[in-house]
């Protein structure tokens, strides 16, 4: 299978085009979307097993040799990310069958969802920075449309901020790209890494590193650059904001990890220290921002920011254990966060509100939903034996090992604060009684659309089971994460795999 690395891009691409053709036949469109998502998942798993066996899979598109053509590179980290993207994509596709109204369906929800997945997978596979830029834009364009689809007031207002800040990020990215090309004369990441290891102008290289940090930092919602996220993520339908919450910021994190393990590794005492400071600020502001919120999804959105801080913290510490912790954390986070958003969607469907002050009593009216909330919520806060516990454990262990007690203690503190937020949602929405002001106080609540309950619950149950599995048997995933980290920390193997030469 010489072209296996291209499949995670091609399958959503084909699915999106089939969905576009069958835009006026809703049943056919849904069938294509579901089959495409499942096929995507299968081929992502195939790619993951292949990279486990061979380490690196490289595809030179069009048979052009490495620094000149388009290279698609799959190492363990990227294929793990692709698998997660496929899991999220499949879960969302099933959820959307029940959760997306027919208006949005006929305006192209499924094609753009799959184009988004294509862009995300393209980012994970891109072997040169120029392609990374193009895939970023594919992803952004699809996300713009998904965000604005339906055209409600909140969506448009949130969309304005989201669009402007992401365009500024793209401008930063392109600026850095242009200067970098002027410096090293190549855009292939392996080739750039090779040149940067011997380049002399370390001042310019550090400036470039900062430009990339800002560009990717906006996409990853790092500390002073995150304001677009809480302003927009709670506005679109839940199927859309769940896929955003699961995947989009993580693409930024992926790009940061790639750039700061492969390209900018000569001035660690400056760049990675700065990343560590940003990580601390991101964790703290995110979790504190959540405290004063009252909307279900608004709280969850702020927690995305604090979680991104954890991921970046592993990158800042920059030891094999810390990076393994980062990889583990990303895996855990994508599954859990998507799941929490889906739960908030069902809560919204049942009571038509997201305001925690007007929710309440789900424990008596929808006990199963409460359990489905509790699993990812406690996992997010890092309680054993769930996946979040291990993710935080590895990161904090790594920080103590490096005698960075401050950031480790901060990680513990933020975990505790996360628990407070989750408890707040639990107390206000699930415990207690149905608020008196609510019209359906005695009729319990609205019913989910008939025949679609299974479609709502199936993705949530699968994701919750995945969280539990990782929590109870973390060994396998940790093993994978460690291998991915050792690959990340050895750029020469990457260069060797892509270019076929050693330094």
């Amino acid at each position: 299978m010489i072209s296996l690395p291209a499949l995670p891009i091609l399958i959503p691409f084909g699915t999106a085009s089939l969905c576009l053709i069958s835009l006026k036949r809703p049943r056919l469109q849904r069938l294509a979307a579901v089959l495409g998502a499942v096929a995507h998942l299968i081929c992502a798993l195939a790619l993951l097993t292949a990279t486990c066996r061979q380490g690196y899979l490289v595809l030179q598109a069009g048979d052009w040799p490495a620094p000149f053509g388009i290279s698609l590179v799959a190492d363990l980290f990227s294929s793990l990310m692709i698998t997660l993207a496929a899991i999220t994509g499949t879960a969302i596709t099933f959820y959307a069958l029940a959760g997306i109204d027919s208006g949005r369906e006929s305006f192209g929800f499924y094609p753009f969802l799959h184009l988004l997945l294509m862009g995300v997978c393209g980012c994970f596979l891109a072997g040169d920075l120029f392609n990374l830029y193009v895939w970023f834009e594919v992803m952004l364009m699809a996300s713009f449309i998904l965000l604005a689809l339906g055209g409600e007031r909140g969506q448009l207002e949130g969309g304005v901020k989201y669009v402007i800040l992401n365009l500024v990020a793209s401008a930063f990215f392109l600026t850095a790209l242009g200067i970098l090309y002027g410096l090293v004369g190549t855009l292939n990441m392996a080739d750039i890494a090779r040149h940067l290891q011997t380049a002399e102008q370390s001042g310019l290289v550090s400036a470039l590193a900062m430009l990339f940090l800002v560009a990717f930092g906006i996409k990853a919602a790092l500390f002073p650059l995150f304001s677009w996220l809480p302003a927009s993520y709670h506005t679109p339908p839940v199927a859309v904001s769940a896929v955003f919450a699961g995947l989009l910021t993580k693409v930024g994190v992926y790009a940061l990890v790639r750039a700061f393990t492969l390209l900018f590794i000569r001035d660690i005492s400056f760049t990675h220290e700065l990343i560590l400071v940003l990580a601390a600020m991101t964790m703290l502001t995110g979790v504190l921002g959540a405290v004063c919120q009252d909307g279900f999804r608004r709280i969850l959105s702020f927690h995305i920011i604090s979680q991104v801080g954890y991921m970046i913290m592993g990158l800042g510490i920059f030891t094999p254990l810390a990076l393994a912790g980062t990889v583990f954390y990303i895996v855990h986070h994508i599954i859990v966060k998507t799941n929490l958003f889906l739960v908030s969607g069902v809560a919204h469907k049942l009571r038509s509100t997201e305001d925690l002050n007007r929710l309440g009593g789900f424990l008596s009216t929808a006990p199963f939903l409460s359990i489905l909330f509790l699993i990812p919520a406690l996992s997010l806060a890092g309680l054993p034996p769930l996946s979040g516990f291990w993710a935080k454990f590895f990161l904090i262990w790594a920080s103590f090992e490096e005698k960075r007690y401050l950031i480790g203690a901060l990680g513990l503190l933020v975990g505790a604060l996360t628990l407070i937020s989750m408890t707040k949602i639990w107390l206000k929405a699930f415990w207690g009684t149905v608020p008196a002001a609510h019209p359906e106080r005695h009729a319990h609540q609205k019913k989910l659309p008939p025949g679609k309950t299974a479609l709502f619950y199936l993705p949530m149950i699968s994701l919750a089971l995945l969280t539990l599995t990782i929590g109870l048997w973390p060994g396998l995933l940790f093993e994978l994460a460690q291998q991915a980290a050792s690959q990340l920390l050895d750029p020469n193997r990457y260069i060797q795999a892509v270019l076929g030469v050693t330094l």
Binding site: F130, Y133, G159, V163, I164, L177, G178, G182
Partner: protein, 115 residues
């Protein structure tokens, strides 16, 4: 030539950022357009300004016998222009819809989703 280009690029960046910070949607869009153009010009300048032939080499020669222009920044700029065009068109429609829905010609008034 490089110095002139550097000054132009700097001026464009400054204008773009200034306009981006205005509250009027139209000015913000113009700012975005200027910013993307500034970036394209920067890529062009940073990748060396060379006068050369197009990089098309006769099959019999094997390698060019004259100075050729670097095609990579051109491809980069071309792609960036096309992408920026598409995105700006979308932004324009989005801003118009937002202004119609909120009945405000001022970004500072679009705050209901803020936190």
């Amino acid at each position: 030539m490089e110095i002139l280009m550097a000054l132009v690029v700097g001026g464009l960046y400054g204008t773009g950022v200034y306009l981006l910070l205005r509250p009027t949607p139209v000015k913000v869009i113009i700012g975005l357009a200027i910013l993307t153009n500034a970036v394209n010009l920067l890529i062009f300048t940073a990748a060396r300004l060379t006068r050369g032939h197009p990089p098309i080499v006769e099959e019999t020669l094997g390698r060019p016998s004259y100075p050729i222009a670097d095609p990579v920044p051109q491809a980069l700029v071309l792609t960036a222009i096309v992408i920026a065009f598409g995105v700006l068109a979308f932004t324009l429609v989005l801003f118009r819809r937002a202004a119609e829905t909120t009945e405000a010609d001022n970004l500072d008034e679009m705050r209901t989703t803020d936190t």
